[in-house]
Every structure is written in C-alpha cells, then in structure tokens.
C-alpha cells in the first residue's frame, strides 16, 4: 500500500524525466537563444536577493527578541510570524495598488502636498520590488528558526565570550551566529523553494523567471516539451539546494557541552537602544503586515457589496471543502505510510518514505505539467477501450476533473502533513505499540485504539497546515482547475490581473484570516517545545 502511494506521488517526476528523452523542438532553441539567459539571471537574482534580505531582517529580529528584554517583546514574538499568513502574490497586489498612481500614497502626496511622485521613485514592479515583496512575506521562516536556535543556545558560551572582552556585536558574529547557522540555513532553504515556486508575484511584476517561462513555453508558444525542459532545470536546481542543505546541516553540528544550559535571562534594554530596537520591530511589523492589511481592509470596505454575492460564498465553500478534502487524504496517506514504516522497521522503506515528501520542493507549475500529461493519456486509453467495446465514450474522466486537482495538491503538500505526523509518531515511541501487540490486539486495532488517539494533536496540526497551503495555492490550481471552477486564490489572481485590485482584496482577506490560525498555532507549538 505504502509503495503504491509512493509510486503515484512520484508520477510527475517520472513524467518529466521520461519526457526529457524526447528531442527538443524549435521552441526550445528559440528559448535558449532569446530568453533562457534572462530566466536564469532573474531567477538567480531573485533567489539571492530574497534570501539575503530575509536573512538580514529575520536574524536581526530574532536576535533582539531572543536576547533582550524590552516593552511589547512578548507580542512581537508572534506578531512577526503573521506575515506568513499573507501569500506573496497577495502582498504583491496590495503593495502595487498602494503605491500606484491612483493609490493612497501617491494620491496623498499629490493632493495634500502638491508633490508629483509619479516615476521610478515609488515603482515596485521590478526585480528589487519582487525581492522586497518575497522577503517581507517569507522572512518569518528565518526568524522563527533563528529565534528558537538563539533561545536554545547555552548562556555559558555567550557569557564566556563577554568575559573574554567581546562586545555584543562580536559575540553575535563570532559565537551566536555560527551556532545558529544550521537553523538559518534551514529557514533559507524553505524560502528558496517558495521563491522558485512563486508565480503570482513575478507574473504580476513582469519579471521573467523559470516559473513564468514554464507557463509561456507551454501556453504562449504551445510547446509542452519546452515547458518540461524548463521544469527539469528547475527541478535539478531544487534538488541541488536540498542536497546542499542536508549536507551542510550534517557537517555543521556544534557541541554545547553536556551540562544543562543555564536558565535564560534576557538583558533589559534601556535608553536609545530600547527605542532603536522597538522602532525597528514596529516598522518591520507594519511594513510586512500592518500596512498591507489596513489597505486590504479599506478595499474590502469599498467593494464588498459588489463582490460578496452568492457566487462568492460558493467559492469560499468550495475552497474550504477542497482544502479539507485534500487535508484528509494527506493525513490518511501519511498515517498509512508512516505506520508501515513503524511496523516493519525496514531500513530502505524509511529512506524511500522520505522521497514522498519531495513534492513540496517541486514548483506547482511543474507538478501540474507532470500530472496533466499522463492523466490525459490515461483518459484517452480509457475512451479507446470503451469505444472498442462499442460503449458510449465516458469523456475525459480524470484530466480536467476535481480528482486531478486534488491529486496534484496531495503530491505537492504531502510533506506538509507528513512531517507533523512523523514527529507525533516519534514522540509516542514504540513501547505502547509493543504492549498493545502483547495484549493480543491486531495492528489495525492498535493503530486506531492506541496510536491515533495519542497523536491526535499532530493529526490536527497536519490537517490545518495542509488546509492553509491548499487555500493559498495558485499556479497548480490555475492550470488544472475544471469547468466553472474558481478558488479564492484564482479569484484573487483573476481580479488582480484584470486591473481590479480593490475587488480582489475580498478573496485575499479570507485567505489571510484563515492563514492566521495555524500561524498562531505554530507559534504555540514552538513555545511549548521550548518549555
């Protein structure tokens, strides 16, 4: 069973590898000649710029919050995670709208102060702008990881550093930062994958990257082969990143000494230092969450009477049930696979089960290509079989159905549900299982009576995390959605691309509100783990 799930999950990767053996068409040559360099350069720039920017703000914020005491510190701890609830593409529409000629900022300058601010000064629709948008919506990954690393670091080492006459700056760079490196790298690799997967932001800003290239090659130039070549390059890059990350994590293990770390005492900040730190954190929060949310609320206020109709409610319902459905599937699959691993203790099965979660690293557009093509072939075979038996054609059963969409979501988000459940199983340990077996219960009964109740919190968080990710998903949904099918994400995208940003805010607001719940939950989990 576990093997079958695994094979199915790996389908898109197989398809892409398989198609690579077809010889490249004319489109590919045209792309190599004209655009490939542009795609590579932009993707790389975006990747590096976003990583650097989010590392700087994320680590700085984490350092202050982990080590110093100042007013409102406890609130900032979780306030700074909230930007994760705002998908990057929504951040992009919001900022573009805020800063546009008819947006509130330029309007204010023009009408109240008489300044004409049109021109490059407030222009955000370019590569640095995309770095900024991706950076402010993704930096919490680095922030969360760096913060917990700083908090776990032994006081002793830092105190030793102070005693040896190093200031807090040098302590930070020489002691704390190197020790937090694996955690920061972990956060950055998550950011890198999100950047490579992004379609909404770069498309809207007119920045050509591999993701937009896949869409262009497949749709504008009508060459699925060229799209697959691009996908393959992107997949190789992602796997290289993953490999680098595990490799460097493996090498960088810092020992802290065996005695328990001293209880954690934060240094109180006073005077100008307090105010500098406070104003940094306040502005970070406002820029990454406060301002965009205020703008979205203002737009919703102005347009909800036009947008929120019965149709819109239908879209909400559909998005939610799609997300719940996918979540349930993923949780079941994850339990089946992990339980199989748990029972058999076979080494290779453990390794193989790790492969299943690679889907999260593959950009949505690539998964869509990798799933649509084989399913369409399957459909055509089924139709041929029906026809040869002289039955009526059943039509295209899979491709263009909700089935395909959910399948693709499962491939992409299995990791999201897999990890918390894996952690849950590991925490429970094997002894209860063995006890249950000794008492004569079957495997299945043990699973339902013992394991599942014990890990129900993990199951719940898995469900919730998948739920939010499905709700936000854009590129894959755009390609695979069936007839009459809008989700909140595609609705927001459609409206924004049709130059109706204010109207799109209604769908955005619901996505963000739903996203906030697991973000807060996540913070709780981190806190309790710390305690």
């Amino acid at each position: 069973m576990a093997i079958i799930i695994l094979l199915v999950i790996a389908l898109p990767v197989f398809t892409i590898v398989w198609k690579l053996f077809d010889s490249p068409g004319e489109t590919w040559t045209h792309l190599v000649d004209t655009l490939l360099w542009d795609y590579s350069k932009n993707t790389l720039l975006l990747l590096l710029g976003t990583a650097l920017f989010s590392a700087i703000i994320g680590v700085t914020a984490a350092w202050f919050i982990a080590n110093y005491e100042f007013p409102l510190r406890k609130y900032f701890e979780w306030l700074l995670i909230l930007p994760l609830a705002v998908p990057a593409y929504i951040m992009a529409y919001t900022y573009a709208g805020m800063l546009s000629y008819t947006g509130p900022i330029q309007t204010f300058f023009r009408n109240q102060l008489g300044w004409n601010t049109s021109g490059p000064f407030l222009d955000i629709m370019n590569i640095p702008g995309a770095m900024f948008i991706l950076g402010i919506s993704l930096f919490p990954y680095v922030y969360v990881m760096a913060r917990s690393s700083f908090m776990q670091q032994s006081r002793n080492l830092q105190e030793a550093s102070y005693l040896l006459g190093m200031g807090s700056f040098r302590t930070f760079f020489k002691v704390a930062l190197p020790m937090a490196r694996p955690a920061i790298a972990g956060g950055l690799s998550l950011i890198a994958m999100e950047v490579l997967n992004d379609y909404g932001t770069v498309k809207y800003f007119g920045v050509n990257t591999f993701t937009t290239g896949i869409f262009r090659a497949w749709f504008s130039l009508g060459d699925a082969g060229a799209a697959i070549y691009l996908s393959a390059i992107l997949t190789v890059v992602v796997f290289a990143l993953l490999w680098l990350e595990t490799k460097q994590r493996g090498e960088a293990s810092y020992t802290q000494g065996s005695n328990a770390p001293k209880p954690f005492v934060r240094k109180a900040l006073i005077g100008w230092k307090k105010w500098t730190v406070l104003s940094f954190l306040i502005s970070l929060f406002l820029v990454a969450f406060g301002f965009p949310i205020a703008q979205i609320l203002a737009w919703v206020w102005a347009t909800f009477h036009k947008v929120v109709t019965a149709d819109f409610i239908q879209i909400i319902l559909r998005s939610f049930s799609l997300a719940v459905g996918t979540g349930l599937f993923i949780v079941c699959f994850a339990i089946i696979m992990l339980y199989a691993v748990r029972l058999t203790k076979v080494k290779w099965l453990q390794t193989v089960s790790k492969l299943a979660v690679l889907g999260y690293a593959i950009p949505g557009a690539v998964i869509a290509v990798g799933i649509f093509i084989p399913l369409l072939q399957l459909d055509n075979v089924i139709i041929d079989v029906f026809k040869s038996l002289s039955f009526a054609s059943p039509g295209l059963l899979f491709s263009g159905s909700v089935f395909t969409l959910i399948f693709a979501y499962i491939v992409r988000f299995l990791a999201v549900g897999f990890n918390p459940i894996d952690a849950g199983f590991q925490k429970v340990g094997r002894h209860v299982n063995e006890a249950s077996r000794l008492l004569g219960f079957s495997d299945t009964k043990t699973l339902f009576k013992i394991d599942l109740p014990l890990i129900r919190n993990s199951i719940f968080s898995a469900l919730l995390l998948v739920f939010v990710d499905v709700l936000k998903e854009l590129p894959l949904t755009l390609i695979l959605r069936p007839f009459n099918f809008q989700t909140l994400a595609t609705k927001a995208f459609d409206m924004a691309t049709n130059e109706m940003i204010a109207e799109s805010a209604n769908a955005s607001l619901i996505i963000i509100m739903t996203g906030i719940i697991p973000v807060i939950l996540l913070n709780r989990i981190i806190r309790t783990r710390k305690a």
């Binding site: 601010t117 749709f219 109740p453 009459n484 130059e499």
Partner: protein, 345 residues
C-alpha cells in the same frame, strides 16, 4: 475519539460532494461549455439571461486564450468544450490553424455581424471590437502634432512614449497590422524606433500607461478604448481624474484607419453541444446582449443596430483599418519575433 474522526470525515465528505457536485450533474440538463478568456461581470449577467431564456446552462472555464487553446488541443476529440471565446482575433486564428474550430452557418449571425469582423467560412465571429488608440496628455501635447502609429517612432517623441509589454496580444496584433501595411522591414524599424522612444521599460497594463501619462512620466500612451471607458466611470475618483487628464486620438485617419481588434468566438471542432453553441453565439450577437456589452464594458458592438455607450461616443466616429483580422493572426508569430529582435520587453 474514533467516532469523532468518522463524524468529521463524513461531514467533510458531504461538504466536498456538495462543492464538486456542480460538474457531475450534467447528464440530463441542456448545457453549453464555454472556454473563455473574458472575465467581465457583464458576461456573467448575459449568460444568466441566456439560461433564463433558453433553459441551457452555460458552463465556463476562465483562463488565458493560450492556455485554453492548449487545453483544447490536448483534449482532442474528447474535449468537452463547445465554444472558444477570446479577446483577440490572433488567438482565434491560432485555434483555426490548429484545426480546433468548425465552420457554422447562421443567417442570424451573418445579418448581425459585418463581413470583415467574421471569418469568411464561419470559423469564428467577432462580437465586439475595440480600437487601439493614442491617449495623449491634454496638458503637454497638441493633438495636431499626432498623426499615425508610424509617427510615434519618430525621434521627436524620444522619452515620451508609454506602452505595455510585447507579451501582450493587443500589441502583437498592432505590430502585425503594421507588418501588413508597411512590410517587415519598416515594421522592424518601427519597433526599434518605439523602443528608443519609450519613457520607461514596458510594465503594467493599458490602464497603467494612461496613469503614467497623467503622472507625467510620459506624454503619449497606447491603449485600448474600453480601458479608458472603464476608468472614466470608475468609482475611485483618482482613476477618473487620471483618465480625464488624457485625450483620445484615433491614429491613421488619413490612410488605412485605426487598428481595431475583436473579441470573438468560434465553435470547437468536437463540440458535443453544437446546437446550443450556435444558440449562445446568436444570442450574444443580438441587440439585447450587444447593448449590455456596449454599455457595461465600453466596447464597440458589432451589431450596427446597437448604439455605443455615451462615454465612448464622446470621442466621435473614426475610420477603422479594414484589413481582414484573419491576416493579423497569420502574422502573429512574425510580430512576436520582431518584438524580441527589437528588444521590446
């Protein structure tokens, strides 16, 4: 606990069925399946009206025309699509060349739609058209200095011209019309001259170009008429002010006329509901529907019996480039290559 899990699952499954039910209950009722690039509120209203009149339900897949054509092609003879609705003749032509459309004959359509706005053999039909015009700053440009598209590449407009990316199909069709009128060489020179004259690298949509003129980033923008129409009637005062800052100029009035493009439909080659498809297209070509398209979306109706909205009527009548739109489709790929060579982003 276990019971709770079952309960939750059952609840979610029911919800799920409810949500997906929409597309599996097509067995008995009359439907027409539409692949549409248009996502205007007005369209949705019209489809509801159509269902009310005929009892035929309209199913819509919204995506870009390129994606829809790709989908049609992959699905082949098993495609559920009946009608392809695009915002440009070039895409209809592409679908035609790929053999994705079938000819239909309808007296209603032939009567309602002028011959140059439909395919000679009935493979596709224009339902509305829009002109690609020059929006100039009322403050800084004397309209007497404006003449043709070709003139915008003239050095005296250096640093003044605003236009969106070449990825946009409206620009591709415009360049195709210039290739058809002036030849490939002159068209390449024009594209290069335009790039040299741009006030900034192309970005944003047509509305953004108009706003950039209002903001003083450049003096002249190329835009489709209905965008300005929408802006002039926007609920946001700033949008209205930006649109009021520009004047509309119809270029090439002394030669071939202003470039126009259609939003149009074709019946899919393997349409399972061909009769319904024709009914829908006929419905859209009739006065009632044409009026809605004209009034709510500020497009020019193809049906001569229908008057245009007041907003765009204020710009006056103009001479239209009468080239057969099929020709623009043929020249589309040449236009794309020309743009790439000229470095028009």
């Amino acid at each position: 606990m276990f019971k709770n899990i079952i309960k939750t699952t059952a609840f979610a499954a029911t919800l799920f069925m409810m949500a997906c039910g929409g597309n599996s209950t097509q067995e008995q009722e009359q439907v027409v399946n539409l692949y549409s690039h248009r996502h205007y509120e007005a369209d949705q209203k019209l489809f509801e009206e159509f269902t009310k009149e005929t009892g035929i339900k309209v199913n819509v897949v919204n995506a870009s025309a390129d994606e829809l054509i790709q989908k049609l092609e992959l699905e082949g003879e098993n495609s559920p699509a009946d009608v392809l609705f695009t915002v440009d003749a070039g895409r209809l032509h592409r679908a035609e060349v790929k053999g994705l459309l079938q000819p239909i004959t309808s007296d209603v359509l032939n009567e309602n739609i002028p011959a140059n706005l439909r395919h000679p053999e009935g493979l596709w039909f224009g339902l509305t058209y829009r002109a690609r015009v020059i929006a100039y700053s009322k403050e800084r440009v004397d309209p007497a200095d404006l003449s043709t598209y070709e003139d915008l590449a003239n050095e005296r407009w250096k640093g003044k011209v605003l236009v969106r990316s070449s990825e946009n199909v409206y620009n591709q069709s415009l360049l195709a019309s210039i290739i058809a009128a002036d030849g490939a060489e002159a068209a390449t020179a024009w594209a290069e001259g335009m790039v040299a004259n741009m006030a900034r690298a192309p970005k944003g949509g047509d509305r953004d170009q108009v706003k950039a003129v209002a903001g003083g980033e450049g003096d002249i923008a190329i835009t489709n008429t209905y965008y300005v129409g929408i802006m002039l009637n926007d609920s946001n005062e700033e949008e209205r002010k930006a649109a009021e800052a520009v004047g509309i100029f119809f270029p090439n009035q002394n030669d071939r006329g202003t470039h126009i493009n259609i939003s149009g439909v074709g019946v899919a080659k393997y349409a399972p509901n061909k009769e319904n498809a024709i009914k829908l297209i006929e419905f859209l070509s009739q006065e009632k529907a044409q009026k809605v398209l004209a009034e709510e979306n500020y497009e020019y109706p193809v049906n001569a019996k229908v008057s245009i909205s007041e907003t765009i009527a204020a710009w006056g009548d103009f001479k239209k480039d009468s080239i057969n739109l099929a020709k623009l489709g043929e020249l589309n790929s040449e236009a794309v290559v020309t743009f790439d060579k000229a470095g028009w982003k």
